[in-house]
Symmetry: C2
Subunit: 358 residues, 2 copies
């Protein structure tokens, strides 16, 4: 158990500098003329399928690597793991900083491992290249969960583009599932389009909120409320209980105004105090209720197929766009055409035609 914790902390530490370290280990291995650090791919696959989290961590590091050999290996591992993935519930959790995401995930995760679940906690944070991993960075707030042998915590994948980060996270989900994790939690702070990305890779999307006087939705980006399957008002303890209950009424009313979801699930609002471990059971029961409903009406599988198609199309479109707009001639001409539009010398459509012809 203690060893497990140390291992996890070591991995987290390593994660922060993973790119340089990988490069480093490669140059060392090149010097030695062999690749001692990289275990045999088939062995790694077997270990993952046996639930070995050291092997899982190594595979994730390969997934996150930019080295072409690592990518090739990662793809082979993912392909082998694919038939064993998919048996899980994937839960997305978002909320503004300070809402108590870490405390909530710790209490929620402990509750689940107590029920015999195997819980993987991942994060999407496209800004982490700048902030050096603000999410899940401070592990001291999840110290109980870190010690838990049925929990696996992995700091955010980093990357320049949300697409890249999303891909790494999606592949990590598959690896975790193949390693036997049946509950996957994806956390995001909601920078840029990250909630949309998370929403497109989970079964259930949970928005954490704080009770406050009025202006309940301040600080939440447009569209987030509509994506939520549940709004959980955290820190409902002490003097906060009354405002939390009021906020619950207000959110329930707001949610009621939205059109019905494709899942036929009516989003729910609940209150909890992760700190005092209250209301966490309710959240899990709500998710079970959602799972039962959507498995009965077949939305669950339908949605996963839809998400697969979404990521296929999304990846292609992102690549087409990036190939086009990163072309140096296009870059120069785009600027010029925008100037012509502003000075009313051309229309956006003629400008587009001109650029496409280049």
């Amino acid at each position: 158990m203690a060893e497990n914790k140390i291992h996890k902390l070591a991995l987290q530490k390593q994660e922060r500098f993973s790119q340089p370290e990988i490069t480093n280990s490669i140059s060392i291995s090149k010097l030695k003329g062999k690749r001692k650090a990289q275990p045999n791919t088939r062995k790694l696959i077997n270990e993952i399928l046996n639930g070995d989290i050291t092997a899982l961590s190594r595979a994730i590091t390969l997934v996150e690597s930019k080295n072409s050999k690592h990518i090739k290996k990662a793809n082979a591992i993912i392909k082998a793991c694919l038939p064993h993935a998919n048996n899980s519930i994937r839960i997305g959790i978002t909320g503004v900083p300070g809402v108590g995401k870490s405390t909530f995930i710790e209490a929620f995760g402990k509750h689940l491992t107590g029920l015999g679940k195997k819980v993987a906690v991942l994060a999407i944070d496209p800004s982490s290249t700048i902030t050096k991993g603000s999410i899940l960075g401070d592990k001291t707030r999840m110290e109980d969960l870190v010690k838990d042998k049925n929990a696996f915590i992995r700091p955010s994948a980093t990357g320049n583009s949300l697409g890249g980060v999303a891909r790494k996270t999606r592949e990590t989900i598959m690896l975790c599932e193949a390693a036997g994790f049946d509950t996957i939690i994806i956390e995001t702070v909601g920078v840029g389009q990250s909630e949309t990305a998370v929403h497109s890779m989970v079964d259930f999307f949970l928005l954490l909120k704080l009770a406050g006087a009025g202006d309940e939705l301040q600080g939440i980006k447009r569209g987030i409320i509509e994506m939520a399957d549940a709004i959980v008002i955290n820190k409902a303890d002490g003097d906060n209980i009354k405002p939390a209950k009021l906020a619950k009424v207000e959110f329930s009313r707001a949610l009621h105004l939205y059109p019905e979801k494709d899942s036929k699930w009516m989003p729910k609002v609940s209150i909890c105090s992760a700190m005092q471990n209250e209301g966490v059971t309710d959240v899990w029961n709500m998710i079970l209720e959602y799972e039962t409903l959507t498995k009965q009406n077949e939305y669950f599988e339908f949605n996963r197929r839809k998400q697969n198609k979404f990521w296929l199309i999304q990846t292609i479109e992102e690549q087409l766009k990036s190939d086009f707009f990163n072309n140096s001639e296009i870059k120069k001409e785009l600027k010029h055409q925008l100037h012509l539009i502003e000075t009313k010398k051309t229309t956006p459509f003629s400008a587009a035609e001109y650029l496409l012809k280049l």
Copy 2:
């Protein structure tokens, strides 16, 4: 005045069959060895700039044509008109069928022409290829506005893609503005992504609603409420006045929960009876208030520049995607890759890579 009406009705009639008629006139002109039917482009431009609506109608027909010569002419006309466009307020109006859009636009338009405004009413209806122009098709409901010499009503542009329809509408807006129309109303029934398209080409976006017991937002697509600058509850007359007032309270509360808009405009709710011509003035005053605010804080011009850039990028992206996905080999392989994803033999990302390499 009567002549004007007849002319408009003739144009509307013509519109429904505009494509075949154009083809026809070309073959006739070819037989005659000259293009009598098509007036000189420069003359047409001058007439448009002088506010001649017959010339305006002809130019719009050129914009809507698929004939390459017409497209060339249309582009020349648009280019010449561009410096004279932009001086208007563009208002988008959406609402489910039966909400009374035509009646509202008639009352609203009459109010505006009464104030000395020149009003152009256009429509976006991507489904009109199927329904043969459901929007603005039944002119009998706007018969007063049709007679008004300061109003110009043009049925929806048709087309296979929303992108194409949007382009035609955007270009028609410019032509109308160059012809001196200072208030442009764009109507949509909200099929597919048409509200988003309309929202991206107007200054002010208005959602028409009916009062109903509970479930106020039923039938409205997700995201529409967030786009609205105003919700106007129509048919607030007779027994409907009380429910309309209740709905107003409910919507105001819901709108209050949304985060602040970039425009700093706080969306408003008002009630009206277009049939009894009540509350229409309030709507216009609200729009004037919006215009004053956003011109003061410079959001008005900022948003138009943003919209120009949006259409430039949007057009390019649509074309890149359509070139890719309409490729026959890609079509075949895409189907196969989707099958491989469903049978867990590949991931969406590997499938995307494979398709992009083709």
